[in-house]
């Protein structure tokens, strides 16, 4: 409880400091809006030209896109410490100060940064979700709403866990290894679309290694009443837990890696 209060307090402080330069902030937010708008435009244009993607109708495609967008950028807003700031903290030796304080390193890392510009992307994602839900005529029930929330929540844990791979590499090599980002950003790009359209190797990668398909596509397909691979309904509720699994594993790896942490000094 105490940790959560600390987190909320730091977020509020960071938010305030970000808003000190309103003009620059506004421009950068606008840029984010254009960026995510451009991604959505690509989906719209694809729908315009191809009408559908296997059994997935336009509304379904917007829904998948929106779910990924909302989840990914929520993670980037509130997990900025892990998704962006960590390599810099290792390189500059700033991480040392975190070791001195009576809180976990991961907690403090999460408390150290926020990226509110990404709210613009979340807005685009939400619009896509709404549009998709309308076009596909989703009959919402409380259960489906709950499932959507579950999918977003565990999706955030999954993405956070995947970004921690980079953090762990960074602890050992100091230099940030951008190559590792292929799995996070690549996952985002690939899994904006339902998994079953891809060839087997990609399907395995995003189901087993980086289980975007389990966390997002299985529940989303259930909400759309088109169960993925015809799996039974209960799988939609159980599969997202894979996100927590990835996070838990990465948390343990992160703890181990921290024991090997050698400060860059100076």
């Amino acid at each position: 409880m105490d940790t959560i209060r600390l987190y909320i307090k730091s977020m509020r402080m960071l938010m305030k400091s970000q808003l000190q330069y309103p003009a620059s902030f506004l421009m950068q937010t606008l840029a984010q809006l254009v960026m995510e708008g451009g991604e959505m435009l690509a989906v719209i244009l694809i729908v315009d030209r191809f009408d559908r993607l296997n059994q997935w109708m336009p509304g379904d495609l917007y829904f998948f896109f929106g779910l990924m967008s909302v989840t990914f950028y929520l993670t980037e807003v509130f997990g900025r410490g892990v998704t962006g700031a960590f390599p810099g903290m290792v390189r500059s030796g700033q991480l040392d100060t975190l070791l001195l304080r009576p809180r976990g390193v991961l907690t403090q890392t999460l408390c150290s940064a926020i990226d509110p510009r990404r709210f613009a992307c979340i807005a685009v994602g939400t619009a896509a979700l709404a549009l998709g839900s309308r076009l596909s005529r989703i009959s919402w029930t409380p259960l489906k709403g709950l499932l959507l929330a579950e999918s977003v929540l565990f999706g955030m844990l999954l993405i956070l866990g995947l970004f921690m791979i980079e953090a762990v590499f960074c602890i050992y090599s100091v230099k940030s290894v951008e190559l590792v980002n292929a799995i996070t950003y690549g996952g985002r790009s690939a899994c904006q679309y339902p998994i079953d359209i891809y060839a087997r190797p990609l399907r395995v990668l995003f189901t087993v290694a980086a289980p975007f398909a389990l966390v997002m596509h299985v529940p989303a397909a259930y909400i759309l009443d088109k169960p993925l691979y015809g799996w039974p309904a209960w799988t939609a509720f159980v599969c997202p837990l894979a996100g927590a699994g990835v996070f838990a594993v990465m948390y343990l790896v992160f703890r181990r890696a921290m024991r090997h942490y050698r400060s860059t000094g100076s």
Binding site: L45, R52, E178
Partner: protein, 263 residues
């Protein structure tokens, strides 16, 4: 002239230093290329288009291979302006526009050559319809290389113009990010321009962003016949001239009003 050549060589050598980053970049681009090609293959399976899938695959691979030709934000100049380091550049007996143009040229040319070579080899080895196909004809390959060179000159002029914007304000991250994004969308990197609605294509292909990679690639894949090449090349060169002129006059104007920061 000699001085510019030296600047070019220095930049070239610097770019060669970061070979590790090149390998990482290549693996990333290959991965993205594979994802995009599988997506378009799935789309084509639902509804084939007039442009064959082989051409779309080639389009994707060429875009990924020459990714480095896209606009990027050079934070170095921004830092120079913020710290006052630009004063040293002003002391050089060189035209600043030319100085930065050559630097960008070296960076983009070597950056894309280093990445393109291994990626194109890899993409050639992939099966037909997934990987990079052969150019439609030998003359088309020659025309492709010619237009690619013109595209390189065009993207350098574009980036230099963006830098001129940077001189106006101390923090232009927003403006620059926006211009770079326009580039990603309108150059065919996010979605091949050939898949845009046909009516849009008439306008988009005339914009400077399409000159950089879209025009050369269309010649490679045969979307533009050989007879169209002179027209395409003319549009490219017109943009190069216009952008260089606009960039140079803007640099000159901003240079006069430049305030040296720091102390």
């Amino acid at each position: 002239m000699n001085a510019y050549f030296t600047v070019f060589r220095m930049r070239w050598k610097m770019e060669l230093q970061y070979r590790g980053a090149v390998i990482g970049g290549v693996v990333c681009q290959v991965f993205f290329g594979l994802i995009l090609v599988s997506l378009y293959r799935a789309l084509y399976a639902s509804k084939p288009q007039t442009m064959p899938i082989e051409a779309v695959a080639s389009y994707v691979w060429l875009q990924q291979a020459f990714f480095r030709m896209q606009l990027s934000s050079d934070s170095e100049l921004m830092d120079k302006i913020r710290t006052g380091g630009i004063a040293y550049d002003l002391c050089r007996p060189l035209d600043l526009y030319g100085y930065y143009y050559v630097r960008i040229l070296a960076q983009k040319l070597l950056g894309s050559l280093l990445r393109a070579a291994p990626m194109l080899v890899f993409a050639f080895l992939l099966p037909r319809g997934v990987g990079l196909g052969l150019p439609v004809s030998l003359p088309a390959l020659a025309a492709f290389l010619m237009c690619l060179t013109a595209g390189l000159l065009c993207t350098c002029a574009l980036e230099n113009l963006t830098m001129a914007f940077t001189m106006r304000t101390l923090d232009s991250r927003g403006v620059q990010a926006m211009l770079n994004l326009l580039m990603m969308i309108l150059s065919g990197n996010v979605l091949p321009l050939t898949l845009y609605p046909d009516s849009w294509q008439k306008v988009i292909t005339l914009l400077p962003y399409a000159q950089v990679l879209d025009t050369p690639i269309r010649i490679y894949t045969g979307q533009y016949a050989l007879a169209d090449v002179p027209r395409a090349l003319l549009i490219q060169l017109a943009w190069v001239l216009l952008l260089v002129w606009a960039g140079e006059s803007m640099w000159r104007r901003h240079q006069k009003r430049l305030i040296i920061q720091g102390g």
